[in-house]
């Protein structure tokens, strides 16, 4: 059984203006999937439907055998604690320290009271430091997050997702606000995670080249529809042209080579 299965997912925020139209795909454990497509194609909405940060319109999402759309509050919490999420704008609490932000990833496993009082076990704290060490930001553990650079903050975001012990990590444009060097660092880390820990990654990207370099599989979205789904190697220029519309594809490639 695949880890994640999406069946005929449709979503619209306003009636008559669908964001996603009948999206279906499934993801096996350990896959590294990139979702590409122009702005407004529905990438973010699709990603957020997977852990129901956005309510599912029509269709079903199965995660680890559970129907995500049919879960009650507690069930949804169980689903979410197994799904890590990384954001374009990192979404950390800027005034708190790095280590505090990382430990936030454990809230899914804690009772409300334990969370509110900030009771973390020694093992959890040790794990947090190990992860920081692994991502090369251990020396910043006690700094406030707003003192860190964008790339460093994104690494904190990845640590926060990893400490959840997730089966899958969803990344929504993780490198869209970063410079090329930090982007490479972040993408390398994501790749390492997927290989070393065997965690499945679904990454929204709008850089086709990056997607081809890192992902095993690419899903192309255009106006809410899947127009490409297959191994990265098969994503020929014709397909990118179709996904982005001819002119944009050329422009995108130029931007990346700069």
């Amino acid at each position: 059984m695949p880890l994640l299965e999406v069946n005929g997912l449709s979503k619209s925020y306003q009636p008559g203006n669908p964001i996603l139209k009948d999206v279906s795909f499934s993801v096996e454990e350990g896959e590294f999937v990139a979702v590409i497509g122009p702005s407004g194609a529905g990438k973010s909405t699709m990603l957020r439907c997977l852990n129901r940060m956005v309510d599912i319109g029509e269709g079903q999402v199965f995660f680890d055998g559970k129907d995500v759309g049919a879960q009650n509050k507690r069930g949804l919490r169980d689903v979410r604690k197994n799904i890590g999420m990384v954001f374009q704008h990192y979404n950390l609490v800027p005034r708190l320290t790095v280590i505090e932000n990382v430990l936030h990833g454990r809230f899914g496993y804690k009772s409300t009271l334990q969370g509110v009082l900030g009771r973390f076990t020694e093992a959890e704290k040790r794990k947090a430091f190990e992860l920081l060490e692994k991502l090369g930001i251990a020396e910043h553990a006690y700094k406030r997050c707003d003192q860190l650079s964008g790339g460093q903050q994104q690494r904190v975001g990845i640590c926060r997702a990893l400490i959840q012990d997730p089966k899958i990590i969803l990344c929504d444009e993780p490198i869209a606000s970063l410079d090329p060097n930090s982007s490479k660092v972040i993408m390398d880390h994501l790749k390492t995670i997927s290989i070393e820990f065997g965690i499945t990654c679904i990454v929204n990207l709008h850089q086709v080249d990056v997607a081809k370099d890192y992902a095993n599989r690419i899903i192309g979205l255009k106006k809410g529809e899947v127009v490409f789904d297959g191994p990265s190697l098969l994503l020929t220029p014709q397909f990118t042209d179709e996904i982005y519309g001819m002119k944009t594809a050329v422009e995108t490639r130029e931007l990346i080579t700069v």
């Binding site: 940060m53 979410r80 604690k81 999420m85 800027p94 809230f107 804690k110 509110v116 900030g118």
Partner: protein, 261 residues
């Protein structure tokens, strides 16, 4: 095209300016307010203040009494503000779009805030005076109610501005509502909120004097009493102590703000 837009804007500005002048003139005419005659009255008023509002030795003898009442007023303002802040925080969490539990709660909390904010403190004191009588609880409640309205509004804005991204992230980790509120919303908004509370304490010490005059409590009552018995020396002393107290509190809160922000 562009030029016509600019011309139109210029025309609008001119009309607005003319409108304000006409309005000023009209309101002066309706209320029978004479600009020149009121200017003429200024030297006389100054002279009266200079000759009557002089602190003398006899007035200074009242200083311990005044200080006692002043402290009572200051503490009442602080108590009213901090207790109101606790309630406001709750209302703001319910009322903010980011952390709203459901629409009904949100609407109720915003309505409560709006109601208590839009009735002026003076009106509150008079209303509460009738229902609670002349005691310090009335003054306390008048300040409390007005503060809740203002602080809820300010806190809602603080929360909306501060916490959107991290709330989303924590929701995605499976955190519960109160975990999110206590670990993302409150820590991020806290300095801003403390700053609003300090501002409100300053404002309330000023309002407390007025509320005191109306409800017959604290330093305001003392002011009113000496004013009505035409003991202007004491009135002057009371005014000076109030001013000094407000300045002191302002300096203190500027300090605190610098430390926490």
């Amino acid at each position: 095209m562009n030029e016509t837009v600019l011309k139109k804007r210029k025309f609008q500005m001119t009309m607005l300016f003319l409108g304000v002048i006409v309005l000023t003139y009209l309101s002066a005419w309706v209320t029978d307010y004479g600009f020149v005659s009121s200017l003429e009255a200024v030297p006389g008023a100054m002279l009266w203040m200079a000759s009557n509002l002089l602190v003398n030795g006899e007035a200074l003898g009242k200083l311990p009494d005044i200080m006692e009442k002043l402290l009572e007023t200051v503490f009442m303002s602080i108590a009213a503000t901090t207790i109101a802040a606790a309630l406001s925080l709750f209302l703001a969490i319910m009322g903010s779009k980011t952390t709203m539990v459901n629409r009904a709660f949100g609407a109720v909390s915003r309505f409560v805030a709006s109601l208590s904010r839009n009735i002026p403190v003076v009106a509150w004191s008079l209303i509460l005076l009738l229902s609670f009588g002349q005691n310090s609880v009335t003054g306390f409640l008048a300040l409390f109610v007005g503060t809740v309205g203002f602080l809820t509004r300010a806190f809602i804005e603080t929360i909306d501005e501060a916490a959107l991204g991290s709330v989303e992230a924590l929701r995605a980790t499976g955190a519960t509502y109160w975990q999110i509120v206590s670990k993302a919303v409150v820590p991020q908004g806290l300095p801003q909120m403390v700053s609003w509370v300090l501002f409100m304490i300053e404002t309330n010490i000023r309002s407390a004097t007025l509320v005191g005059i109306l409800t017959g409590t604290g330093i305001g009552y003392m002011f009113d009493m000496y004013y009505k018995t035409m003991n202007y020396e004491v009135v002057a002393l009371i005014t000076i102590t109030i001013v000094l107290a407000v300045i002191l509190i302002e300096l203190l809160s500027t300090r605190i703000r610098k430390v926490i922000l």
